[in-house]
Amino acid sequence: MERTKGRKVVKDKEVGDGDLCWWLVHKGIAASFLCIAVFALLVRAAISLHPYSGAGNPPMYGDFEAQRHWMEITLNLPVKEWYRNSTTNDISYWGLDYPPLTAYQSYLHGLFLRFFHPESVSLFTSRGHESYLGKLLMRWTVLSSDALVFFPAVFYFVLAYHLGRPNGHKTHIAWHIAIILLSPCLMLIDHGHFQYNCISLGLTVGAVAAVLSNKELVACFLFSLALNHKQMTAYFAPAFFSHLLGKSLRRQNPVLEVLKLGLVVLGTFALVWWPYLHSMEAFSRVLSRLAPFERGIYEDYVANFWCSTSVLVKWKRIFTIQSLKLLSLGATVSTCLPSMVQQIWAPSNQGFLYGLLNSAFSFYMFSFQVHEKSILLPLLPASLLALEEPFLLKWITLYALFSVFPLLCRDKLILPYIAVSALFVLIYYVPSGRQDRKETHSFNSFFTTCLVLCSVVLHIIYVTMHPPHRYPFLFDAMIMLLCFSQFMLLAFYTNAKQWMLMKRSVLLDKEKKLH
């Protein structure tokens, strides 16, 4: 405390009288984090007033009903029945298709729901249950998971990240916290559309923080939990793997280090999968639920490589599912590879964050069965890197928002979409908060203004106009192509950046040796 206060006085002149948020930061990181976190929770609570996906839309409803149904199933059936199709568990109606940790979480939340409102989770009769209290309780489970998992993890990350950067400006730290906690896409999808991404992403952030503070075993444990909550977290796996491997290879006893990490991972997995380990059949049944290959290589209009290029090449028609699997696997791995090699060769904290972004990007672009909502995964490391790459963060956030816009339109979440995007822009451009911000303009400003204008116009067109009858999804496709082009550019940029980092560090090393 004293130290920070002292520095504050020294910095006083630099900050100047125009700094709007100096009162926020003078008590240290914890106090400003508390304040921003309460504000972020308030925004989330306000978003949760709005409709959820599939509200009043039988027979299948939407993600909200899926989560509620999982609570119903896990609460009323024994563990072994959860993933099995039976008379009591109709797998075709929102069958559980996430790893067991999600099932346990559903069970816990189900207990909470049953305590206050038993009808909302009773077996069979609660299908498509919609009520004031039911919605409220479900919303509160997301709010509380956010507050209990994501927020502490971000706090841990901020501490770990800024410990390594003692020259960081206090207002910048506050800005960084606000950018991570008020990430518009995450808030809209979790608290508007209804999902529990905050848990898996929170566990991932915790793992990243553990890596940054050199607690590799904790990192392995947390990341395995994240993987077991949502299989999509595997988008980050190459980065974790390569960074930890690279680090271990530099230790005295590389084999022992790798062995330790592997044991922690295996142990965590065994713990989570325990009820399904008694027979190969039970195990493979769960596994097959997690990888729904029969759903095709892409769905809807996701702004990734397969879907965007399908305008020209009809992948689904040319190839069988089997060969598409191989194709997408090959493409994903080969695009991950440069960033992995870099991290094995020269692991660094900075490079690790870029690696997370790069591997998430290549999975989003090339892997099998990607959903629009998966853009949350590249977004997370981008927001962690916000201080390094403010422009990248702005660009990816705006286009990620745009890429989920059709989805949110269907959920009737346009109003929160506008409000939360405006909030993001306001926080990004907080007046005089970050005078020494260096925007790395990879495009000239004329080009960016044009693009922003284009996307605003496209938003308006999408909401107000009917597409021509021959091409009912014309506007969706246009949005997809625009977002895809931007994501591609950003992915190239971040890959290049990761390799440039190494060059810079080599140069620094050489200079040190020379002196």
């Binding site: 020294v10 009288d17 009162w23 008590k27 929770l41 925004v43 978003i47 709010l143 405006a422 909030l423």
Partner: protein
């Protein structure tokens, strides 16, 4: 200005998100006024009884509703339909009305801008944070539904002119405010005394001329507002609608003021005397309704008439009026006006809990002046914000109101402690050389923390802890222990507890005004 806009825009985002939340019957009240002013000629505005929510605001507000109804008609004609629009709750009307409140807040924005533009930037930022992000305004205007931000904006504009010494313009805006909402009239004695002494007290001829000009301005404003109704010969009906004294001493939910204690005392006395064997009749009339002349709602204590409350308010105001008469200074006017509203809140007839906004918002401008004021404000704004909690009784808004109050408390704590440890540190830092600055500061800031820092006193602290206990009791323990029995007890508890706090604040303000130096 652009910085202020930033704060305002952040709060606007939040207000937009809150559009689908719960709204009270005030929403339908204002919708009915839109319909009424749109579809009826002016001569019937104050006579219409299509809906139970008859027009009971002064004419300028009715004109304001008439103005809004033009746009409402363009958006959805059903909003302004007197019959078909009754209890209309489609998205169009909700968005329209909510957005008019959000837009009309720009009046508050301008008021805050005018009042703070000459302050130094630190204080300015604090005031913005306190007023523009006020949780009470969000709760009352953007959840419960009213136009207080707009009306308070006019009050702030008026105060800003007075502080600049432009008394005539300040008086004009106050007259305008009175024609928007007559509840603001509680501060009229203060305005009158102040304007008379500060503006008109300068020689006989010049003073008389100024008095005439001021009078002419006020009369002109009132003539514009009430003129058409005088022309139609309806002024009595208008006044009857505006001052419904038949409504009883207290509102349905007792505002935390002096009368709560009066009622409790009466109940307690009756209870004890009955135990002692006296035959005490249980009064049939209630505090919250019934006609005045009928029967006394009190068993023992004398009945309270509107005139008695009026006298009480004036009596409570008198020290402030004397001060304003003897030493009329522009720097004190905001404090006096807030004091007047506090008196009106404590002793007034049929006071709404929402009226606490009238003194908490302007008090923010006083709070940044000194450490004691900041402490008092910190405490008062938490208490009065908490007293608004019963307005939002549905479960959906529970996290929102709690988070709003929590955020406000954290922000106040951060802001005030930043301001008041800051000054000390800066002075200390100026004295010592740069080299050993770090070392010395450690000691200095420690001492500064203990002596001058922003610390809440023991009594205040335990009171705030008590607030938490009251909340836990009324929200969780009471339903758990008593179930549905005695449903009025939690509300009564909140009223009494917050009433204590506001009484304390009143005494604090009174003491401050009496002790303030005579310049």
């Amino acid at each position: 200005m652009s910085d202020l806009l930033w704060f305002f825009a952040i709060s606007t985002c939040l207000k937009l998100l809150l559009i689908p939340s719960y709204h009270s019957t005030d929403f339908e009240v204002h919708r009915n006024w839109l319909a009424l002013t749109h579809s009826l000629p002016l001569s019937q505005w104050y006579f219409d009884e299509t809906s139970p929510w008859t027009l009971d605001y002064p004419p300028l507000f009715a004109y304001f509703e008439r103005f809004l109804s033009i746009f409402a008609y363009l958006i959805d004609p059903q909003i302004v339909d007197l019959q078909k629009g009754l209890n209309y709750t489609s998205n169009s009307v909700i968005f329209f009305q909510r957005i008019t409140v959000i837009l009309s807040d720009s009046c508050l924005l301008y008021g805050v801008y005018r009042l703070t533009k000459d302050l130094d930037s630190r204080k300015r930022i604090f005031i913005w944070v306190l007023v523009v992000w006020s949780p009470m305004l969000v709760i009352v205007d953007h959840l419960h539904f009213q136009y207080n931000g707009f009306l308070l904006g006019i009050l702030l504009i008026s105060l800003s002119f007075l502080e600049q010494g432009k008394d005539l313009v300040g008086g004009f805006f106050f007259a305008v405010l009175l024609c928007f909402k007559h509840l603001f009239a509680v501060a009229a004695p203060v305005y009158f005394v102040y304007l008379f002494r500060h503006y008109c007290w300068c020689g006989l001829v010049k003073g008389f001329r100024r008095l005439l000009v001021l009078g002419a301005v006020v009369v002109a404003v009132f003539a514009v507002a009430y003129g058409p109704f005088v022309y139609h010969g309806q002024i009595q009906q208008v006044l009857r609608r505006m001052f419904p004294f038949g409504r009883g001493l207290c509102h349905a939910y007792w505002a935390p003021n002096f009368w709560v204690f009066y009622i409790i005392l009466d109940k307690g006395l009756a209870f004890f005397l009955r135990k002692l064997g006296f035959a005490i009749q249980t009064p049939e009339a209630s505090f919250t309704g019934g006609l005045v002349g009928d029967s006394s709602p009190f068993a023992i204590l004398p009945q309270i008439t509107p005139l008695a409350t009026f006298a009480m308010v004036l009596l409570a105001l008198s020290p402030c009026l004397i001060k304003a008469w003897n030493y009329p200074q522009p720097g004190m006017i905001t404090r006096w006006v807030t004091y007047a509203y506090t008196c009106g809140f404590l002793f007034g007839w049929h006071v709404h809990e929402k009226a606490s906004l009238h003194f908490v918002i302007p008090l923010a401008f006083v709070a940044v002046q000194s450490l004691e004021n900041a402490r008092h404000y910190f405490w008062l704004s938490i208490v009065s914000c908490y007293s608004l909690f019963p307005l939002l009784f549905e479960a959906q808004e529970y996290p929102i109101k709690v988070l709003l109050l929590l955020l406000h408390s954290i922000i106040m704590w951060l802001a005030f402690s930043a301001q008041f440890t800051k000054g000390e540190e800066a002075k200390a830092a100026a004295r010592i050389k740069k080299k050993d600055e770090q070392l010395k500061l450690k000691g200095d800031s420690n001492r500064a923390d203990k002596k001058e820092g922003f610390v809440i006193g023991g009594v205040e602290k335990s009171y705030l802890v008590g607030l938490l206990v009251v909340e836990i009791w009324s929200q969780f323990l009471h339903p758990l222990i008593f179930g549905d029995k005695l449903p009025f007890v939690p509300l009564m508890l909140i009223s009494i507890y917050c009433g204590l706090g506001i009484m304390y604040s009143w005494i604090w303000q009174l003491r401050w005004i009496i002790r303030s130096p005579n310049l």
